[in-house]
C-alpha cells in the first residue's frame, strides 16, 4: 500500500514539476508548483515526518507561492514582455542541470542502503522535534531569532518609503 502510494505521489510530483517548466502561462506554472509541493508533503507523511509536511505546506505552498503569484500578477508577464534568452544560454543551462543530474544519479546509484542509525521511531513527530530543539539545539534556536531579526531590520529599512524619512 505504502509503496503504491509512494509511486503515485512520485509520478504526480515529477509530472507537475515538468508541467511547471513547460506551461506557457506563468500563473499555471505556479499552480503546478503548488501541486508539486503538496505531493512532496505527501512524501514527508509517508516518511513519518508530519511536522515537516505541515510546515512545508504552510511555508511553501502557502506563503511563498502566494508571493510568487502576486509578483507575477504585478509584473503582468506574458510572451511579449519576456526577455529574450539566447540559445547558448539555454544550452548552457541544460548542460549544467544535466551534469548535476548525472552526478546525483551516479552517486545515489552507487550507495546501497543509506545508514540510518539515528532512525528511531517517531523522529518526525512534533513532540520529538520540540524536545530536541529546546534541549539539545536551544542555542541554534536562539541564533535563528537573531537571523530573523537581521532579516526584519533589513526588510523594514529597505522597504520603507523615502517620504516618511523625516517624520521618524
Amino acid at each position: 500500500m505504502t509503496l503504491n502510494l509512494f509511486y503515485f505521489l512520485s509520478f504526480l510530483a515529477v509530472l507537475s514539476a515538468l508541467m511547471v517548466v513547460f506551461s506557457k502561462n506563468p500563473v499555471y506554472s505556479v499552480l503546478y508548483l503548488i501541486i508539486t509541493f503538496f505531493t512532496i508533503a505527501g512524501h514527508y507523511i509517508l516518511l513519518d515526518a508530519q511536522f515537516l509536511a505541515v510546515v512545508h505546506v504552510i511555508v511553501y505552498a502557502g506563503a511563498i507561492m502566494v508571493l510568487f503569484l502576486y509578483v507575477i500578477m504585478l509584473l503582468n508577464l506574458n510572451r511579449e514582455s519576456e526577455p529574450h534568452k539566447s540559445n547558448i544560454l539555454k544550452f548552457a543551462a541544460v548542460i549544467c542541470a544535466g551534469l548535476l543530474l548525472v552526478v546525483l544519479v551516479g552517486s545515489l546509484k552507487g550507495t546501497e542502503a543509506i545508514v540510518q542509525q539515528s532512525g528511531k521511531a517517531g523522529i518526525g513527530y512534533v513532540k520529538t522535534l520540540g524536545e530536541v530543539m529546546f534541549k539539545e539545539f536551544l542555542l541554534p534556536f536562539e541564533i535563528t531569532s537573531i537571523l530573523l531579526l537581521a532579516a526584519m531590520v533589513g526588510a523594514v529599512m529597505l522597504g520603507k518609503s523615502e517620504k516618511t524619512n523625516d517624520t521618524i
Binding site: V103, S107, G110, V115, L138, P140, L147, V153, G154, M157
Partner: protein, 476 residues
Amino acid sequence: MNRSDLYSLTPLLILSSAAILNFFSISIKRNHKVIFAITVLSLIGDFIFLTSYSLYHQQHIDPLLVVDGFGIFNIGLILLTTLVVALMSYAYFEQREERKEEYYILLILAALGACIMVISKHFVSFFLGLEVLSVSLYSLIAYLRTRERSDEAGIKYLILAAFSSAFLLFGMSLIYATTGKMDFGGIGYYLTTTQDIPLIMMAGLGMLIVGAGFKLGVVPFHMWTPDVYEGAPTPVTAFIATVSKGGMIALLVRFFNAINGYQYESFTNLFTVLSIASMFVGNILALRQTNLKRILAYSSISHIGYLLVAFLSGGSMGAQATTFYLVAYFITTLGAFGIIATLSDQHRDAELIDDYRGLLWRRPLTAVAFSAMLLSLAGIPLTAGFIAKFYVITAGIGTQHWLLVFCLVVNSVIGLYYYIKIIAVMFDQKLQIKSAKELHPLVYVISSVTIAVLAVFLFWLGVSPEGMLSLIDDVI
C-alpha cells in the same frame, strides 16, 4: 548549558546586547552619534573582554560550538575589523542623507554571524552563522537605496548567496545521509573508518566546496565580486572583503583539519585548480579596470587564490600561514577601503582612478598611506603583505607545491603592474583641484586616526612580525 559555557559565549552575548541597545536607542531618539558611540564602545568592550581568555582556553559547547584559541583569535580579528569598519563608516554616512542608524545594527549582527561561524564545529551552527552574516549583508549592500547600482548589487548578492546556501545545504544533507553525523568530529571519525569516500559523500563535499567557493569569490564562482564591491557602500565592501571571506576561510581550516581533508588527493587537486584559476583570472581581469573598487575586487579574488596556497599546504604551518595572511590582508584591505571611504563625497564614492590623480600633492599623508596599502597588497618589503607572502611561499615550498608557488610568483608580478599603476597616478604631477564639502573636522580626525593606526600596524607587522607569529603559533 552551564555557567562556563555562558562565560565562553559572553563575547557573542555582548554583541547581541549591543544590537538590542541600539534598537532602544533608536526608538527613543535617532541620533547618529549615540548609536555610533554605543557600537564602538561595545566592540571595544567585547574585545577587552576577549583578551581575558587564556590562549589555551578550550570550551566545548556540545554539540555545536567550540571556543578555543583559534576561535578566540578569529573572533578578536572579526571584532577589531568590525570596529575599524564602524569607525570609517561614521564619516562616510554622516555626509549622506539616508537614515544611518540601522546600519550599525546590521553591522553588529553581521559580525555576530561571522563570530558564530568561526567557532562552530557543527553544520547547524555553521549554516546559521553563515545565514546571519549573509542576511545582514543583503541589506547592508543595498543600504544606500538612492544609488542605482546598490540595488543591483544587493539583488545580485541575495540571489547568488541564496543559491550558494542551497548548495551548502544540499551538500550537508548528502554528507549527513552517508555519515549520520553533522558535527565535524563525527564526520572525521566516520572517514577514518572507511577506506575510500563513498561517492555520495564526495558529491556532498563537492557541493560544500561550491557553496564555500561562492562566499569566498574564487574562480569560477567569482562573478558577483566586482559588481557587489562596486555597488555596496565602501565600508560594507571592506566588511565583505575581510570578515565575510575571512570567516569562511577560518571555518574551512577548522573543517579540513577535523576531517583531515588534506589526505584526499581529489580535494587537494580541486583546490589547486581553484587557486590557480583565481590567481590568474583575478589578476588578468584587474589589469583592464579603471574603477578602483573593481580593481580591488579582482585583486581580492587573486588574493584568495594566494591564500589557498597556504591553505593547501595543510598542517600547522599551513594554518599559521593562512592566519597570518588573513591578518595582513585584513589590515591592508581595511586601510585601502578606508581611504576610499574618506575621499568619497556625498554623491559618489571616490572610485575612479582619475579621482586619485596627483593625490600625493593634494593630500600627501593619505597618498603615502594608500601607497603603503597597495604595496602591501603587492607584497613589497617593509609591509605586512610581504611577510605574509613570504610565509605563504615558505609554506608552499615546504610542502613541495612547486606549481602553486610558481603561479603565485608569476601572479605577484602581474599584480604588481596594476598596483603601481595606481601609485603612479597618485604621483602624477598634473594638479587637479577638487573641492569637497568640508565636514565637521572631528569626522576626518576619526577616519585619519583609524587609517594612521592601520598604517602603523602594516609597517609594524612588516618590520617586526615576531610577536604576531608567536601569537598565531600559540593559538594553533
